[in-house]
Amino acid sequence: MAENASQSGSQNGAVTLSRDKLLWIYQAMMRIRRFEEAAEEAFRNARMRGALHFYIGEEATATGICAELRTDDYITSTHRGHGHCIAKGGRLSKMMAELYGRATGYCGGKGGSMHIADLDLGILGANGIVGAGIPIAAGAALGAKLRGEDRVTVCFFGDGAGPTGAFHEGVNFAAVQSLPVIFVCENNNYGMATTSDKANAGPSIAGRGVAYGIPGVEVDGNDVFAVNAVAREAIDRARSGKGPTLIEAETYRFKGHTVHDMAPYRAKQELEAWLKRDPIERFKRVVESQNLLTAEDFDRIDEDVVREVEMAIEFAEASPFPPLEAIEQGVYAD
């Protein structure tokens, strides 16, 4: 049924990605991790508020995919969107300022964590409504097709979005119209407390590709090389006008559903097993064992990222809140 691509990664073979791309991948994954750790700390210290959904543990998926995207390609994101945004090039300072609700944030403080967008980078928005990005992604892909452009759209969504009507309407239309879009289901095994199999009938989400007459591919979402290989194929396919692909990346969120959730509903051993599959550690093991990157490379990036995140926090905290006049501004365009 669904092709299984978990073998197309690196474990059994030599990594062929360029050094630059490997550095980029490591940096992106570290940025996501450190950005969120810092955000969590700020939240726990009551320096920000709202609903935060952490991507920690799932870094390989967004990173492996966005590594193959051009700046002018589009993505749609979710409530758990920091990782997608960072992997697509989002600026940490503007993201952090947004989480802090400051005027300098991506949305001038009006959106918060769940609504970050950067249209110049093709980030068409995180989304607080599960599944809602799927029709929007189809629309962006339709737009590119109508204009005769070769941009692709990557649509990220969770396993929880699998049962939504929006999923079905969006994927069906994209398949009928053969649109340049890649649907990426990040199956982290849970909605909130609901496990994916209690929400989604049938053997898998990738397996639904058959129903729509499009390729459905399962991949180990914690193996950035596997994700990257699958992404490359799907993106090529979309870019060359062959239509959509449905990718299901199996992964796991290390944290609770939101910053408020301690995840009492899942077994400790389950989490521990997944922690052993930490996508960043796995990446490091592979590239070190193949002598592609060195401890110095990692250290340099680690330091850069720490500094970058510190600066983002400083920037956010030094930024003003938007003025009350802003409330009714930006609702309508002229």
């Binding site: 944030g105 949305c107 403080g109 249209l119 629309g139 069906n172 309508y332």
Partner: protein, 342 residues
């Protein structure tokens, strides 16, 4: 019947008489705008060969092809959402819902996505979408194909809402809506599609947010929109024979709402009746009446009265259907009560 404000945007020459149907007027607007701007396209169910449920897009498939006249599956959330994705990346979709009743399926995309994206993203995104839909009762379509749901949309910041009453306004307002850089919900009363009116050939616009005095009068003011404008004008005609001169204000755009002409009128007539086909309770008439009593309080000789549909889904059976929403007779009675009442 004057259309003063609308005329402002048109050439000053005496307009040639050219009677066309309401749905033709809409088609001309779409056709001309598609010619004018390659970013404009149509998406919806049966907008292609079928030509749209009420034939508004008839012939456009032949002219513009499948890439700009896009038939979708029955997927209203997709239609609304695809418009979001296409517009935010630079296109100008005109998305058709066969019946506004079906927008219930698409409310999340219309309200949580289309209406809010610009704002949530800090005022940076632009979503020039027109969501067109047929509305209203009167042709035996029963409860799921006849609602007047404008109140849902007027309440949502980020949306503009338009409800034309004449072919002239329909064309001019739709052109404005297509050129507008916002999400416009454009509501077309299905009983108007076959109404005829004078419509200039070629380009003109009726600006959004400008109401129109459709008839002048001194004894009472009717504030209304969409099909009820035609009923109000008939009622005014009847009342004139009794010596009662009613001023009829057509809001045309419900958001942004131009209440100024209604208020000015009430300052003159001292009496106001708000009429719409939608169910009265919780209807948009509440907003209109509230604003009038607030802005013309000292001029009112009687409370602002409202006349809307009875409190029921629209019944199928002909006498019940026609009994459920305001009729010319009922408007006449309401005006008489309003004048005698105080």
């Amino acid at each position: 019947m004057t259309t003063t404000t609308a005329v402002a945007a048109v050439s000053q020459e005496a307009p040639q008489e050219r009677l066309i149907f309401f749905n033709q007027a809409l088609r001309e607007a779409i056709d001309e705008e598609m010619q004018r701007d390659p970013a404009v396209f149509v998406i919806g169910e049966e907008v292609g060969i079928w030509g749209g449920a009420y034939k508004v897009t008839e012939g456009l498939l032949e002219k513009y092809g499948e890439s700009r006249i896009i038939d979708t599956p029955i997927s209203e959330a997709l239609i609304a959402g695809a418009a979001v994705g296409a517009s935010i990346t630079g296109l100008r979709p005109i998305a058709e819902f066969m019946y506004s009743d079906f927008m219930g399926i698409a409310m999340d995309q219309i309200v949580n996505q289309a209406a809010k994206n610009r704002y949530m993203f800090g005022g940076k995104a632009t979503l020039p979408i027109v969501y067109r839909a047929s509305t209203g009762a009167g042709i035996g379509n029963a409860a799921q194909h006849t609602q007047s749901l404008e109140a849902w949309f007027t309440h949502i910041p980020g949306l503009k809402v338009v409800a034309p009453s004449t072919p002239y306004d329909a064309k001019g307002l739709l052109k404005s809506a297509i050129r507008d850089n916002n999400v416009v919900v454009f509501l077309e009363h299905k009983a108007l599609y076959a109404s005829r009116g004078n419509v200039p050939e070629g380009d003109y616009v009726v600006p959004l947010g400008v109401s129109d005095v459709k008839r002048e009068g001194t004894h009472a003011t009717i504030v209304t929109y969409a099909r009820q404008v035609t009923f109000a004008l008939e009622a005014a005609e009847q009342l004139a024979q009794e010596g009662v001169e009613v001023e009829v204000i057509d809001l045309r755009t419900l958001y942004p709402m131009d209440i100024s002409k209604a208020v000015a009128s009430v300052q003159k007539t001292n009496r106001a009746l708000v009429v719409h086909e939608a169910v009265q309770f919780g209807g948009f008439g509440g907003e209109i009446a509230s604003q009038i009593q607030q802005q013309a309080f000292d001029y009112l000789d009687a409370p602002v009265e409202r006349l809307g549909a009875l409190h029921s889904p629209v019944p199928f059976s002909e006498p019940l259907e026609f009994g459920s929403f305001p009729s010319v007779d009922r408007i006449v009675d309401a005006v008489r009560d309003l004048i005698v009442g105080v």
